[in-house]
Amino acid sequence: MVEPLFSVRGLKVALPDMTRKPLIGRAPLAEILKGFDFDLPKGSVTGIVGESGSGKSTLGRALVRLLEPSAGSIGFDGRDITHLPEAELRPLRRNLQMIFQDPMSSLNPRRTIASIIAAPLKQNGLGDNLKARVAEALQRVGLPQSFAGRYRHELSGGQRQRVGIARALALSPKFVLADEIVSGLDVSTQAQILTLLEKLAADMGLTVAFISHDLSVIRRLCRQVIVMREGMIVEASATDALFDNPRQAYTRDLIGAIPLPEIDAGWLDIPAAAKAPT
């Protein structure tokens, strides 16, 4: 058994529900995560899958402590980080990195690619030898050195996402949260980015939480999967077991709803079972 990097127990997160906010006064809290128990094993990629509103992004944000849990505990690398104040979190942040969904909005338009990648290095006291470190980060993600002086708008979507990965990995973190990092990309670019992340995660021994709505992608990339629905874990197991033998009806529905790129004349027919539930 691999030692877990993250140990999550009874995790609950409540956020203000702005749709029910009175005109004057505070919005009532809505519980987004309703009690999570799981471990993220060291050095492997764990998929977190669910439909919109299932709370998968909230879970990710709680892991990297962009959100403070309302109950339960998060253990990271043997340390309880559940309620650590920001000042004490800061030294840990270099090991808690994120790759975002939309690099267009997560890369500063007024900074060069080099300065974007250098920012986390400087903040973590690795400001010496910056040029070489940036060059290494670019090379790692397969971008030419000439990109160092460019700006975000001069790059294609796939190149931008490579910059996002380069920035997250510049500090050689222990943990990377990848939240829907390919959902804005074309399939051909998506394949490049995912194979890159797969290779880097293996080479660097990264622990990755890979949030996605796409089970096909998860099967390729992840060793284990957490299926979420409405703030709860539906099923968590090893990837192959989940696909070969899903235990929950919801998991089966999710898998069955994926349109595979192959002809299947009966796919759009309404199954007899759905018409007359037994």
Binding site: S188, Q190, L194, L215, S216, V217, L260, I263, W267
Partner: protein, 292 residues
């Protein structure tokens, strides 16, 4: 039998002279679903907009013909063209939230179009709207008709727009990535719904998508686009059995499949892209010549 939609040699340019559609030809037969598949920038949405006559003003059609049920759209006066397009076609858009007016209730939004464009009586439009809401399996039409768009879920909003699209009995529907913003389980329901209504009403659909999985399930014919050029056209079954163009094969290999995780998700080979670039360049060279 004449085609429901017949596009021949359609080319469009931007003000800087760059071609965004490159001699596109395709036909949609009555009652048929034709998928237009390609990556971003391939021009698939542009074709849909050209058909509906809603191209952005910066895009100029410079050659080619579009025939809607045999009527040449290019030869009609603008007003006659709009009337014809309004009566015979409809759109199912990608994002139902921006397609619906946020400050009006669903009911009047759905009936207005029938009254204003088709000249139906309010009563007839209302009856028709309720009938269609029933067909898209909305169980409580009263509530939905009185709702504002933000009060409905994404799937419900898309159902409303599908109902609105079919309500006027169009001959052709342009469906522009209608399920891209939806969760997979909702996507499956919506695709089922579109397929069922399409069969029942005998409507032809030009189905724009980037997802080969959706193409395989919903369409009978498919055109694969790259940089505004149709690189392959085939029966859907034939395309998936034996893709002819290297780009089509590359797209298929790049599409992830949970049934075969390690044979899929293959990055597109540089040679394929180089071949495409050469093909596009050659097509442009050949095209410029007659025009000086």
């Amino acid at each position: 039998m004449s085609a429901c939609l017949d596009i021949a040699n359609l080319s469009a340019v931007l003000p800087n002279g760059q071609r965004v559609l490159r001699s596109v030809s395709l036909a949609v037969q009555p009652g048929e679903v034709r998928a237009l598949v390609g990556e971003s920038g391939a021009g698939k949405t542009m074709i849909g907009k050209a058909v509906l006559g809603v191209l952005p003003s910066s895009v100029r059609l410079v050659e080619g013909d579009m025939l809607l049920e045999g009527e040449d759209l290019g030869r009609l006066q603008p007003k006659a063209r709009r009337t014809l397009i309004g009566a015979r076609t409809a759109l199912i858009p990608q994002d139902p939230l921006t397609a619906l007016n946020p400050s009006r209730r669903i009911g009047p939004q759905m009936t207005d179009r029938l009254v204003r464009i088709l000249g139906w009586s309010g009563e007839k439009a209302d009856r028709r709207t309720r009938q269609l809401l029933d067909e898209v399996q909305i169980r409580d039409p009263e509530r939905v008709l009185k709702s504002y768009p933000h009060e409905l879920s994404g799937g419900m909003r898309q159902r409303v727009l599908i109902a609105a699209a079919f309500a006027a009995e169009p001959r052709l529907i342009v469906a522009d990535e209608p399920t891209t913003a939806l969760d997979v389980t909702v996507q499956k329901q919506i695709l089922r719904l579109i397929a069922a209504l399409q069969r029942e009403h005998g409507t032809a659909i030009l189905f724009v998508t980037h997802d080969l999985g959706v193409v395989a399930k919903i369409s009978q014919k498919v055109s694969v686009l790259y940089a505004g050029k149709v690189v392959e056209e085939a029966d859907t079954a034939a395309l998936f059995a034996a893709p002819q163009h290297a780009y089509t094969r590359a797209l298929m290999a790049a599409t992830p499949r949970y049934t075969d995780p390690f044979a899929s998700l293959k990055p597109v080979d540089g040679a394929v892209l180089a071949g495409l670039a050469a093909e596009i360049a050659a097509a442009d060279l050949a095209w410029r010549r007659p025009h000086g």
